[in-house]
Symmetry: C2
Subunit: 343 residues, 2 copies
DNA sequence: AAATATAATGATGGGTTTTGAGGTGTCCTG
DNA sequence: CAGGACACCTCAAAACCCATCATTATATTT
């Protein structure tokens, strides 16, 4: 007779067993297993752990459900009209939309620009609930302190575009800005074809380490390779188009032998406007950030080259840096656009 | 005695064993093995896993039942000494190593270069077992026919670096080569600083559409913007360093007012060697492919710019093209390297 | 601190799917 | 031809999905 049923086939665990083990109700187990919302992350993990221990889930499913809970990631960018940062914000949003529920939850806040206080405060405020924060750093003790605190409290940080320097445990995602500055210098020097004259630097703020590093690189190569060009000291335009416009008009008036301009920061629109209005297409102009206005400027010849860092790459690498353990963080690739290779 | 087979008589495993191992009834095993519906995916996986562990299934069956087997992808590259292609091969291997068993199986074969026959044959040969083939195309009717055949037979194809043109159903992963040629022309024109003289073109072969497209772009912009420069017709160096070396020596001798060289193809090493030996660092030289030799040439000033397409990106996009349905295939980004922004 | 909103969990039940147990018939093998 | 392995089927029980609502934490406001 029924010999075969003697092994009560090591009963597979049921959701009820998982529920018991996790100390929750069936309803909650169901919510977790079916990815319904309304479960606190802690309980979610408990349930998943219980399920794993009971062998209720195969490894595959476990990875799909539990492995990586979606991280909460915050991105802090300077407010203001800087078109590149606007674009960055847009790409962030695009990424959020396109990524399924698997990807991390991205949130983006704009912080009063050039304000170390505001940035420090934002860091502290968001550290409470975010797993990781990517931020455009302002080099200032207040920010450094806030960052160190936040890192100590267990929130991961990466700086993007502009670095913070000398705070351990913070990775950086961005260009090698000294090399970038040197490349800009090289390009302007070479394109000027041996002419003697002045080269002007425009920046957003020296408080952005990215800006001062680019400046340093630019100066070093000018001195090294192009003695016929003299540097007309750096002006801070605070990444504001109107301010950059005024600066440029003044420049064009005061410096008759102006050969080139390198805008270390953003909002090149103001500069191109001045150049266009004064009909000074002969001035070599290199700036940062591939945006509609710089595109147009390059196409019409007002601008000679755009230096860019791919926003999507920037975002990917930042997320990567905030997710896993910070691996080899080689600098991003500098993209150089002329009128002929615009994407 | 012992009727019930308590001695593990190394019998072939039975469905009952699978059932026991999976903690499931015979009925369910039956459903899974015979692809009947009404089995939850989770249980399906359990059963399959148990069956696999017991060696109950042959590989064939397992693949058929288990769902998505990893894709078999073949990459065909031209043989020869071209350093960029060598690098590409290396990156392929690196990718193969790094990717887990989940990723597609990549295999890379080097085909006699510039031989349409050999390429066509390789396409047909590999189509028999590969799911997708990525290949560096030679524009030739023989290749086109083979490609069309292979596509019709259900193997997916993408061309990399050099396109095949006008064969439906084949995606292309590579640069916008006309724009690349124009950019090279722009750069050489601008860097020459208004000097008059000759500009020479060197290519691997006009049978590579990539090469002739770059040539066309280069010519168009020279004519358009730099009338003071005359083009010293294209030479085919077959991407061979020795041949390029000889060509360049001849060039330097025959063309006293040589201002620049654009190497549309690979193996720039031969050209830099000639320039170095003749001490002609004044000649502006732009070439393709970021490799150790071009790196060195740029650093020492023999070469002015390297145009590159990131091999990893190329591979990723090719695999992507062979895996899913071909989506928006915008061209790859052109990377431009000067002495100061080498990675 | 009380009041109030919001989110998280528990409880429950109806409808659906999945599963186990068993029956039948076929094919193959000793 | 007996017997094992298995394909294919049915049916009822069990497990599960899913929506709803009550209840309890947790946060926010007043």
């Amino acid at each position: 007779m029924g010999m075969d049923g003697d092994q009560p086939v090591a009963d597979r665990p049921q959701q009820a067993d998982v529920a018991a083990r996790a100390g929750v109700s069936l309803a909650t187990v169901d919510r977790v297993l079916n990815r319904r919302k309304g479960v606190k992350e802690r309980t979610r993990q408990r349930v998943l752990e219980a399920a794993r221990e009971l062998g209720f889930l195969s490894e595959r499913e476990e990875a799909a459900l539990g492995g990586e809970r979606p991280l909460n990631i915050v991105v802090l960018l300077p407010a203001g009209s800087n078109p590149y940062l606007r674009l960055l914000g847009e790409r962030l949003r695009a990424r959020l939309d396109s990524a399924g529920p698997a990807g991390p939850v991205l949130r983006c806040f704009f912080i009063e620009s050039f304000s170390a206080q505001a940035l420090a405060e934002a860091l502290r405020r968001n550290a409470a609930w975010a797993d990781g924060i990517a931020f455009f750093a302002i080099e200032h003790p207040v920010v450094r302190e806030a960052a160190a605190e936040v890192v100590a409290a267990g929130t991961r940080l990466v700086t993007i575009v502009s670095d913070l320097g000398s705070v351990p445990g913070i990775a950086h995602v961005g260009l090698d800005n000294r090399a970038v500055g040197r490349t800009a210098g090289l390009l302007i020097g070479r394109l000027s074809g041996g002419r003697a004259g002045a080269v002007a630097l425009v920046a957003g703020s020296r408080h952005y380490r990215a800006h001062s590093e680019r400046e340093a690189g630019f100066l070093s190569i000018q001195e090294e390779l192009f003695p016929q060009l003299r540097i007309h000291g750096m002006r801070e335009g605070h990444d504001d188009a109107a301010e950059n416009y005024r600066h440029t008009l003044a420049l064009l008036e005061q410096v008759p032998d102006l050969v080139g301009i390198y805008n270390v920061g953003g909002s090149s629109g103001g500069i191109t406007r001045a150049l266009r209005e004064q009909d000074r297409q002969d001035v070599i102009f290199v700036g940062h950030g591939l945006t509609p206005d710089t595109r147009r400027a390059v196409l019409e010849g007002t601008m000679d080259a755009i230096f860019d860092q791919d926003p999507d790459m920037l975002i990917s690498r930042a997320i990567e840096g905030l997710s896993g353990p910070a691996p080899v963080q080689r600098p991003l690739k500098l993209d150089i656009y002329f009128s002929e290779n615009l994407p």
